[in-house]
Symmetry: C2
Subunit: 324 residues, 2 copies
């Protein structure tokens, strides 16, 4: 009997569903769109149908499978209550009891659980990725925002209310840049993809850098990929963006080390594709900020999860983790 899990990634635009094996491979993938489902009951019904269709497509090939449960990653997902609470980018508002609703649809599954995207990514790293043998590590996800998942003594840190691990909203620069959340000077405002873009424009302003390869892009059009491409071509300004982003990130990572002293911090997401451009200054800056007792002890590692698959695979890890 081959054991499989369902992983679901709920985003503002799409809800992607995959059937995942014990090694983190996605056997089949499907999805529904999220925003047209303002009505949560219709959303759950359509999602459940999509899940059943995917399971059918798997059992048609191999009838000898057992589905262990469903893991869901969602913005503002609360593991304790199984709810999504006031997620700013989702069309259903307030507190949505998604796990309860899915349990009504799938009473045969013992494990149906939900957490936020970054926690799911951390679990993915622990179950399938580079943290298999680690008890204490941290995951930072860098993208449109910056999320984090903290693992202490082999378990995710959920905090008293289920919402722990929002390191993207620690303060790097008092009264600094306005963050997406309205706060000032948060790590996310410097180290997310849009944060890197803001740094690029800040430097263009500083140097009046009409000669930069980035100078022809509008504020709305520039992406972190553009900064990477320019850096590869030797563009000084683009290279400095990575230096500065790494410096900011290292300061934040040091704060996390001073809290938790993890064995490693994994970095995941678009900006990390730049490799040493970001890892090197981040490591240097982290070491500069650390107490002697922590220096040269904590690894900064690229996530081993595949970029596109990670949200589903991470979500599915919830089921394996619960089953342990």
């Amino acid at each position: 009997m081959k054991q499989l899990t369902i992983g679901i990634d709920i985003g503002g635009t799409n809800t992607v569903i995959g059937v995942v094996d014990a090694d983190g491979n996605i056997l089949v993938k499907g999805g529904i769109d999220t925003p047209s489902h303002g009505d949560i009951n219709r959303y759950v019904k359509d999602m459940s149908e999509a899940i059943r269709d995917l399971i059918k497509s798997v059992t048609m090939v191999n009838p000898e499978v057992e589905i262990l449960g469903i893991g869901i990653g969602a913005p503002n997902g609360n593991y304790y209550s199984g709810t999504i609470e006031y997620a700013p980018n989702l069309s259903f508002k307030g507190v949505v009891h998604l796990v309860d609703l899915l349990k009504a649809q799938f009473p045969e599954y013992q494990h149906i659980a939900l957490t936020n995207d970054a926690n799911a990514a951390a679990l993915g790293e622990m179950i399938y990725g580079g943290a298999k043998d680690m008890k204490d590590f941290v995951m930072y996800t860098l993208g449109t925002g910056v999320g984090s998942g903290l693992v202490v003594n082999g378990d995710l840190v959920y905090g008293h209310d289920g919402f722990a691990g929002e390191c993207g909203h620690t303060t790097l620069i008092p009264d600094g840049r306005v963050c997406g959340c309205g706060g000032l000077g948060h790590l996310e405002a410097y180290c997310s993809a849009p944060g890197m873009k803001r740094t690029a424009f800040e430097l263009m302003v500083k140097y009046n850098a009409t000669d930069s390869l980035l100078a022809g892009k509008s504020f709305i059009d520039m992406e972190s990929k553009d900064i990477y491409d320019a850096a590869v071509k030797g563009d000084k300004l683009a290279l400095e963006v990575f230096e500065i982003t790494g410096k900011y990130l290292g300061q934040g990572l040091a704060d996390t080390v001073h809290h938790l002293s993890p064995e490693a911090i994994f970095l995941f997401g678009g900006p990390t594709a730049a490799g040493d451009y970001i890892f090197k200054p981040a490591k240097e800056s982290m070491e500069t900020h650390l107490l002697p007792i922590f220096k040269n002890k904590v690894k900064i590692l690229p996530s081993q999860l595949k970029t596109g698959d990670a949200p589903i695979v991470g979500a599915s890890a919830l089921v394996w983790k619960e089953k342990r």
Copy 2:
């Protein structure tokens, strides 16, 4: 049979030893001085004698007692290895295997354990104090330095190497004040007792405040108690010191909440005796820095441990915690 524990607080000057009951009362107290014991073996021998003397003095009054073990709080104390590692203020250098040495002296005790002072304080709060019913909370100890102990899911966070919980060394102000550890802009450089003094002098410089009640004290003589006394008398500058210290502290506490989402943060130590002078601005500042999802959820509470006894009582809590 009355069950008792031994709590030991190792400081740079004195090593204080107490016999502690299940309610956190110290029955008898004794000690030896630390610095004259550069030789660790002599230190352990003298400490062991002092422990035996104290136990004797208890059993003389009540022969029906059982000693469960020994808990030790020490700077740079490592719970995992039972060692004190490179403690800057202690006379024995390098890595000292204190737990092993004490086990050789007291083979009859199952529980002999060691951790750093702030972790011990957090355990004390959990076993005897205000955190008895909490699973997720944080302890900040404000004194000459700033220490912290983090409790997640009912257990202390030790990290991969045993040294987690150094929140006093998170960065509040990039390239800010020089911290005792050599780092820049750390929380400890602003929110410790000496940090408050530095803020007082900063403000005297800013306002040329010869009219402040604090203006007659030298930099070496001023203590945080002086700032409190001046504040009580309505001294504007002293009141602003508390406002600013609270503001800094609140920023740091918010960073901790964004990591761990604790139910409460306990504050312990000299500066917290100022009550609302420090708690009010700290709370306001923390709330300002928090994501909406965390606002008005996390309590800031005064520690319920008695100031003088806390280090011993906290250390003894290690034994009760291990026994659970």
